[in-house]
Symmetry: C2
Subunit: 534 residues, 2 copies
């Protein structure tokens, strides 16, 4: 409020007396001549509050801790960037970029993702190596589909390792982070589909796809996560002019999936692969990866899936995507049609079924930073990167379903409600006394509240405590307090008959701490427990 | 990256082959025909990274904990609001609002503060009572003065209590939060200047200021925090047409300051005050406040200062502002001139000397929410509010000066560096083994890193550990590891001769935890210690 509240109040008052030049939309017949407008957030945005906020903060807390455990440091970039930084980065999706109005000076746009600002930061500061995480909002002028969690303002949650390291070492750690992240959020039924750009490139070469056609064929294969093979094959042959033989050969390869070791073995014994330099490069990296993935004990989460093509053309190495069992792609065309129809009904946007199942994804991108460095006239330096992004809104929906029914999720962290009981004509209500006790609790790091009323009756104080969901009451009894005694009592229906225990005021803090240690269901711990699905 | 990285990489690559239509500014002769642009953040914005980020996060952590201790819940509103929500709220400062470009649909603007979105939320959701905190960025197209921490994108850190409560009870708690917040950040030499709108109103009435002149006289008095009385008096008489007598009478009152009790006593015994209804209302509230402030034991921080006039016309009750001793206002005109000159030299902006000293401020504003409710056609309901805002950027500068010299401030939270020592031709470097050990540490919540290299020599591993500043090494000795033994060693120059201790691999976690418990200087604790200036 420092710079603002004064002005706000000042100017609202001013606006009330002199109607502003920015005339609000009249909605209904204004009462007493006042102008009216709708109180809402902009389309595709929302306020985060109450239980949602608690759940979201717990998710962010889990992921931040995870990233810190892996030596990650966080970076906070401005919410808008120079327009030229974003320009030309998102192709036809550039139309979704929010621009700031040209009010003189630099032209700016709201960030569209966290990856471009990260690459800008690394290139701008000549950073040679960094493990950074960033949990922040990004902006897209998309058609919002609230029910599916697609918003115009939404969170991304990225971890990336930039720097020149030994092959597959950071990649394996990012995969481990993916697994640790999802399991720490209580997501158990997921698998990571993994593929390697160089192997796919090799396969297209083997199948006889010309270099200039690789991109469009890759983009057809990319659709295998939402369409069955017969549809994709048709696109490859009819639409994209490849021979039946080429399509069939691609089809033979992309249907391969299994454990890293199995698919690695299959490919290693394939004469065509053996003869393809690119594919063999990729296969060698997979071999290296297997050792590290086994060291981390995450091999069972990974499915080497040659049909995964996301970002194939521009990722430079591993690509991966975590999907939950609940949202696996349809098995065949009729199931797809069924799903699409349902989706359409639910959401009026069937084309976006794809990717709903992806709850985290990423890959290696070795050329992005250098593109910024070169474009700004800096010396070309290769800063290879590998990263993963957790789909926060999607994870939020999954976790919310699981935890929101619990009455253990409460918006405040309050641990102690300070109350006073008494009566009679001389009863002051002990308000300053409650304040003193609360202050002592605060000074000792304990969350405490009391009713903002001199003479509050016991019922109202219990109701307020219950509403806050806090586990302990410290009670100032009219007589007891005069003898320097305080009563500590567990709250909740199961303790209705428990009178609590009387302690010396001097021992309040240790006694409260002991009681709190007995309380396993306190807000913060409980939400973490719920999030982790323990 | 989920939705974005793919597109980013895809489209950057596309942009590199087909130069974008949004042509970057050519800076120098482009090498090999490539277009160039400057890599920078927009004017008045910055990246938060490295130590700054650590310090800032620690400050936010302290303040969030504080707010939670007082039962606060956090609220996250969109970064932009409908333009009509902001319109007419900031008077002539409205020109500083960042508008989003009109790309069809609703017109929006970046939020200018957190108070208007808060009031919008409360009114929109018919919230009857809430204690909310919000730490977030706000946006002003001001002329940035980086050296003074004035940015176009900057953080606000607000705590507000909305709801109808007994007089002065929430106000006293907000004052306690102000004190607890500053002391928890190691700020010791501050005082809170406090005044009451109704008392000032009464004084102006007593002095003979006509009702229609109160605003402009109040605004003159407001300048007493940067100008001496003789300058303000001249403004009141010469510029604003009040009599010498009126000015002198105002001067007599506004020079009053002292403890709440002292100034209260003085005013209570003043016949003119006794005869003024408004002033007596305010004085009664001060009397109530004294009891609560004493209960919280914060009376010594407060100076009842009748010259404080901030927001006078539009705040409805208490107003307050915390200043540090270092930045007290100049005592007389010549000192002011001196300060201005110095300031000018330092900053080329002497007019902004004012307010630099204010590190937190707030007050009671009882009509803001209702204005929104009424403007949107809702039933008029009074939701009185009182709040405080911490000046994060200013606090950051103060704290940074204090802590940045410490080598204890490090960007990562890494606690353990996992190393392997060995040699000879058969030496594998134990990379997968280091990964396994790291994984065990991560699974037990311990921050761990290792060098991303198969055969890293001991020097390089120690260098990397030292660079991270982490306190403990877990060492896989070539022979020792084969016997299932690991070495745990403290890091740092003072432990150079300490070989550490050998533990069974099975006992690694308890042994590391024990060692970490001995380490009082670990990153997280140390930064908190530094921030709190313990």
């Amino acid at each position: 409020m420092i710079r603002s509240q004064l002005r706000v109040v000042k100017n609202i008052a001013r606006a009330m007396s002199t109607p502003s030049e920015a005339v609000p939309t009249p909605k209904s017949a204004p009462k007493s001549g006042k102008l009216q407008f709708t109180l809402k957030t902009p389309k595709g945005t929302k306020d985060w509050a109450e239980k949602d906020m608690v759940i979201r903060e717990a998710i962010f807390g889990q992921l931040s801790s995870l990233f810190k455990r892996h030596g990650g440091i966080t970076l906070d970039t401005p919410v808008f960037e120079l327009r030229e930084i974003l320009a030309g980065k998102y192709g036809e999706d550039s139309k979704l970029i929010y621009n700031l109005e040209d009010q003189g000076g630099e032209l700016c746009s709201l960030r569209y993702d966290l990856t471009v600002p990260f690459a800008r930061y690394v290139a701008m500061n000549n950073v040679q190596s960094i493990k950074r995480y960033h949990i922040a909002k990004v902006y897209r002028r998309d058609q919002p589909a609230m029910t599916k969690g697609r918003m115009r303002e939404f969170y991304q949650c990225d971890f990336d390792i930039a720097g020149t390291y030994e092959s597959m070492v950071p990649d394996a750690e990012v995969l481990s982070i993916l697994v640790e992240g999802l399991t720490s959020l209580g997501i158990k039924d997921f698998k990571i589909k993994l593929n390697h750009r160089k192997i796919l490139d090799g396969i297209f070469q083997i199948a006889g796809v010309k270099d200039e056609d690789v991109r469009k064929i890759s983009s057809a294969v990319d659709k295998l996560d939402k369409s069955p093979w017969e549809v994709v094959k048709k696109e490859i042959t009819v639409e994209k002019g490849q021979t039946e033989e080429t399509a069939n050969l691609i089809g033979e390869y992309v249907k391969l999936n299994g454990s890293l070791q199995e698919v690695h073995n299959t490919l290693s014994n394939d004469a065509a692969i053996q003869g393809n330099e690119k594919a063999m490069e990729g296969l060698k990296e997979i071999e290296t990866l297997i050792g590290y993935v086994n060291a981390f004990g995450i091999q069972n989460y990974i499915s080497f899936d040659l049909s995964l093509a996301r970002g194939l053309d521009y990722y430079t190495g591993l690509i991966y995507e975590a999907v939950t069992a609940a949202s696996a792609p349809p098995k065949n065309a009729s199931e797809l049609k069924e799903k699409s129809k349902k989706q359409k009904k639910d959401d009026d946007d069937a084309s976006e079924y794809v990717g709903v199942g992806s709850i985290a994804a990423g890959g290696r991108y070795d050329n992005l930073v250098n593109m910024f460095a070169e474009a700004s006239g800096k010396k070309s330096t290769s800063i290879p990167c590998v990263g993963v992004s957790f789909g926060v809104e999607r994870l939020f929906s999954l976790i919310k379903q699981r935890v929101e029914q619990s009455d253990k999720v409460r918006p405040t962290a309050t641990q102690v409600f300070v109350m006073a009981f008494g009566g009679g004509k001389d009863w002051t209500g002990y308000l300053p006394e409650r304040m003193k006790v609360a202050k002592t609790l605060w000074e000792n790091g304990i969350e405490a509240e009391y009713v903002y009323k001199s003479k509050a009756n016991p019922r109202k104080q219990f109701d307020a405590a219950e509403k806050s969901g806090c586990p302990i009451a410290v009670i100032l009894g009219k007589e007891e307090y005069l003898e320097n005694k305080l009563r500590i009592k567990r709250l909740g229906p199961e303790f209705a008959d428990d009178d609590g225990e009387l302690v010396d005021a001097a021992n309040l803090i240790p006694a409260v701490k002991e009681k709190l240690a007995q309380v396993h269901e306190n807000g913060v711990d409980e939400i973490t427990r719920l999030i982790k699905d323990l």
